[in-house]
Amino acid sequence: MGRYVARRLLQMIPVVLGTTFVIYTMVWALPANPFQGKCGTRPCPERYVAAMTEKYNLNDNLLVQYGKYLGSLVQGDFGTTFSGVPVLDELVRTYPVTVRLAFLAIVIQVVIGMAAGVLAALRRGGFADSLVLVSTLAVISIPVFVIGHLMQLTLGINWGIFPVTARGADPSWYSLVMPAMVLASTSLAYVARLMRATLVENLRADYVRTATAKGLPRARVVGVHTVRNSLIPVITFLGVDFGALLGGAIVTEGIFGIGGVGGLIFRSINLQEGAVVTGAVTVLVLIFLLVNLLVDLLYAALDPRIRYG
């Protein structure tokens, strides 16, 4: 398995190189000089534009620019923003917040989504099943920003149960609960449905009949044998979803004023802050790859039939 992990890690190098190059190219491909728009309607002083263009290597051709960027990147230098703040500082400020939020969202998905799925599968056709089906349908069909604003207005502003926003580089876990619920809502519905479908299918499997026949209690048959075997599609979904939660939380982060990666990337794209976008997305890609490696390794733990040589 060590060789398998090593191979997977090595495979990440070309992927990361490729993504950084694509992102870098796209950000700087916008046909305007980013420094021109910094002075409002009045064109910036020519000297200012020229000096900044030179400072950020925008005069070089794209490959040379990218080479220079990569050169400093491998030395751990992510560059600076146009306002002179090191990009690394920005990443260090925003990533922990987003990871915390995404982690909470995953926990909510796992706890509520899987519980609902298992319940629905065991009471197939019953009231609980219908309730889960209808409520997940409702959650899937309501856009995230509606859920977000609604919860913020009721739970936050009107009833004061949760803080209205979760701002800053170190928001409390408690203030992140409401945003995490909003963020988790859609995926939670998918987890519940996926869990239900897989479990229903596996409950009809031969090994379940065998386990029941040899006299194992129902709880053990379901809890240990069936649920565990049904987890593989759910875990796969969660792995992919974690990446989506990191980069795609822009709407939720916006509603709750969370200073996370989504907002950072969004703002930086608008300002054509190429160094920030590339840096942030590179880290995103790395986390995504690592999480999915972890998911693949979990397969082997969940299903004894899977081996990595």
Binding site: P34, A50, V85, T165, W173
Partner: protein
């Protein structure tokens, strides 16, 4: 092998469980950053500065608002009328409007205790104008009216880098007479010169700024200013904290102990915080709150409507770039075909003021209807006028997609199309920078949206920089000798005479129509239950000297 895989899985499961546990007892409301900032401190909704907090480097509001609280300039603007009154200056006088003698009020100090002297201003302006500092001086053109500006700019190599040794150290137009007096010689007479001096680019800088060991970026990370509030801390992406400066010498002293600018990426989040009393003033309510006048239900009477010094227009490129639109009658016809009030009511929820002049109502000298009949909706007259011309073609309106312009540009285009029966297509460009690049290169054809936000409240600021031949923001190729000489003459005169000449120049624009005035900005600001005496200035900012906390 299998054992280690299990260990990983077990670890992950454990982490999940621990995380889940952490949620429940984690009810730590003290983690809410705003709740601890109470007691005499007012919390203003802010945004992330785009530059280091150095006066010469900042001309956007996110950094500008904190900087204006940190720095006092020679004059300040009356929060209600926008009139310039002396602040650090005791007197600003001139006999010929060209050589200005500025005397400082004695006793003012920077926040580090060092005195504010004539050199503090002179050195700061020389620094901002100097070629070696170009990468940090977005505001360098504000010094270009001073004699000797070109000499300190120096030469650049083909890459655009400043060549050391090619520039003079100081502008010849700046002369220190004594500790509290200095003289400014302008290139041309300008009666309105004192009105400029409240702009952030004209701030003084303490001696520490010029210390060999301090870079401007270091200074910008914790600026030492001259104003009513001193800098405490800047938590990137979160907040900028200021507290009242004990040694402040200004006439009006702040009522609050401190000001915190809470940085929001998202206007809706800021509005939610305002409703929860966690932000005290939001100077511009988001569209979602304006829709259906929701803010009136949410805030009761805790809102203020204020005109701000911004005009929105539709510009025409120079005749060289687009000869098709060069005939003023075509332009006038287009202007008359736009039903401004209808668009304002439908797209902007009524929160704009239809414009029939090129100068904002917030400045002295504004007169309604300088545009004549051409800015009044008159479809019949518009069609007649267009029929007189040999215009034959289609119209486009270019707009930048990084602003919130698509809806109203679409509406305006449809409006023109319906009235004049010529095809009109909105054309989006990703960024404002892209539009400006094309305009400067003379590659843009068709109409384009443009807005002008005043730098300082003066009628001159709405005319000179936009329509004088060769002026910085003259994207219209506007080149009318009589207009230029009127502006020059007006600049050399004082008081009402000057204003009358500027107005005459403004009326001339109706004949050439370099731009079609559309509407003036109104802002709707909201405030919390904690604050009183909220005044929104013509700049759309909150006046920090009058606001008080209950």
């Amino acid at each position: 092998m299998r054992v280690s895989v299990r260990a990983i899985a077990g670890g992950a499961a454990l982490a999940l469980t621990l995380g889940a546990c952490g949620v429940l007892p984690g009810g730590d409301p003290s983690g809410d950053p705003t709740s601890s900032e109470r007691g005499g401190t007012v919390i203003i909704g802010g945004c992330q500065p785009g530059n280091p907090l150095v006066p010469a480097a900042t001309n956007e509001v996110c950094g500008g608002n904190p900087l204006n609280a940190i720095f006092s300039m020679l004059v300040r603007y009356d929060p209600q009328t926008g009139e310039a009154v002396n602040d650090v200056a005791q007197s600003i006088t001139s006999e010929d409007n060209k050589v200005w003698r500025i005397e400082l009020e004695p006793g003012w100090t920077f926040h580090d205790g060092s005195p504010i002297t004539a050199s503090s201003f002179v050195d700061a302006w020389n620094w901002g104008a100097h070629g070696a500092n170009a990468a940090l001086s977005q505001n360098s053109y504000f010094y270009s009216i001073i004699e000797g500006f070109e000499e300190v700019q120096g030469d650049t190599d083909e890459d655009g880098n400043f060549v050391p040794g090619t520039a003079a150290d100081t502008m010849s137009g700046l002369e220190v007479i004594n500790d509290t007096t200095f003289e400014v010689t302008l290139k041309q007479a300008e009666a309105g010169f004192p009105q400029r001096l409240g702009y952030i680019a004209y701030a003084p800088l303490p001696e520490t700024f010029f210390d060999a060991g301090t870079t401007p970026e270091d200074f910008g990370a914790s600026p030492i200013g001259s104003g009513p509030f001193e800098f405490v801390e800047f938590v990137q992406g979160e907040r900028i904290v200021l507290e009242a400066y004990e040694g402040y010498q200004g006439e009006v002293r702040p009522n609050v102990d401190g000001v915190t600018f809470e940085i929001f990426e998202n206007q809706d989040a800021q509005y939610a915080s305002l409703l929860a009393d966690q932000v005290d003033v939001m100077t511009q309510l988001p569209t979602s709150a304006l829709a259906g006048e929701a803010y009136k239900t949410d805030l009761g009477d805790r809102y203020i409507e204020q005109e701000t010094g911004v005009i929105h227009m539709m510009g025409f490129p120079s005749e060289d770039a687009d000869p098709n639109l060069a005939d003023p009658r075509v332009r006038q016809a287009i202007s008359m075909s736009i039903d401004r009030q209808l668009i304002i009511d439908n797209i902007f929820q009524g929160i704009r003021e239809p414009a029939s002049s090129w100068v904002s109502p917030v400045v002295d000298g504004y007169t309604d209807g300088q545009c004549g009949d051409f800015c009044t909706f008159n479809p019949d007259r518009a069609r007649e006028l267009l029929a007189e011309t040999d215009f034959d073609g289609e119209l486009t309106i270019t707009y930048n997609e990084d602003g919130d312009h698509e809806t109203w540009v679409n509406a305006t285009c449809n409006n023109i199309k319906n009235v004049l029966e010529i095809e009109c297509t909105p054309q989006g460009t990703p960024t404002l920078a892209g539009v400006l690049d094309d305009l400067i290169a003379g590659e843009l054809t068709g109409m384009f949206r443009i807005a002008w936000q005043m730098d300082y409240p003066s009628i001159e600021n709405f005319l000179g920089p936009l329509y004088q031949t060769g002026a910085g923001a003259n994207f219209f190729g506007h080149n009318v000798e009589q207009f230029d000489s009127l502006i020059a003459e007006a600049s050399g005169q004082n008081g009402e005479q000057s204003v009358a000449l500027f107005q005459e120049a403004e009326r001339m624009l109706a004949q050439t129509m370099p731009t079609v005035p559309l509407w003036f900005n109104l802002t709707v600001a909201g405030y919390s239950t904690r604050v009183d005496n909220v005044i929104i200035t013509p700049f759309g900012t909150v006046d920090l000297l009058s606001i008080s906390v209950e």
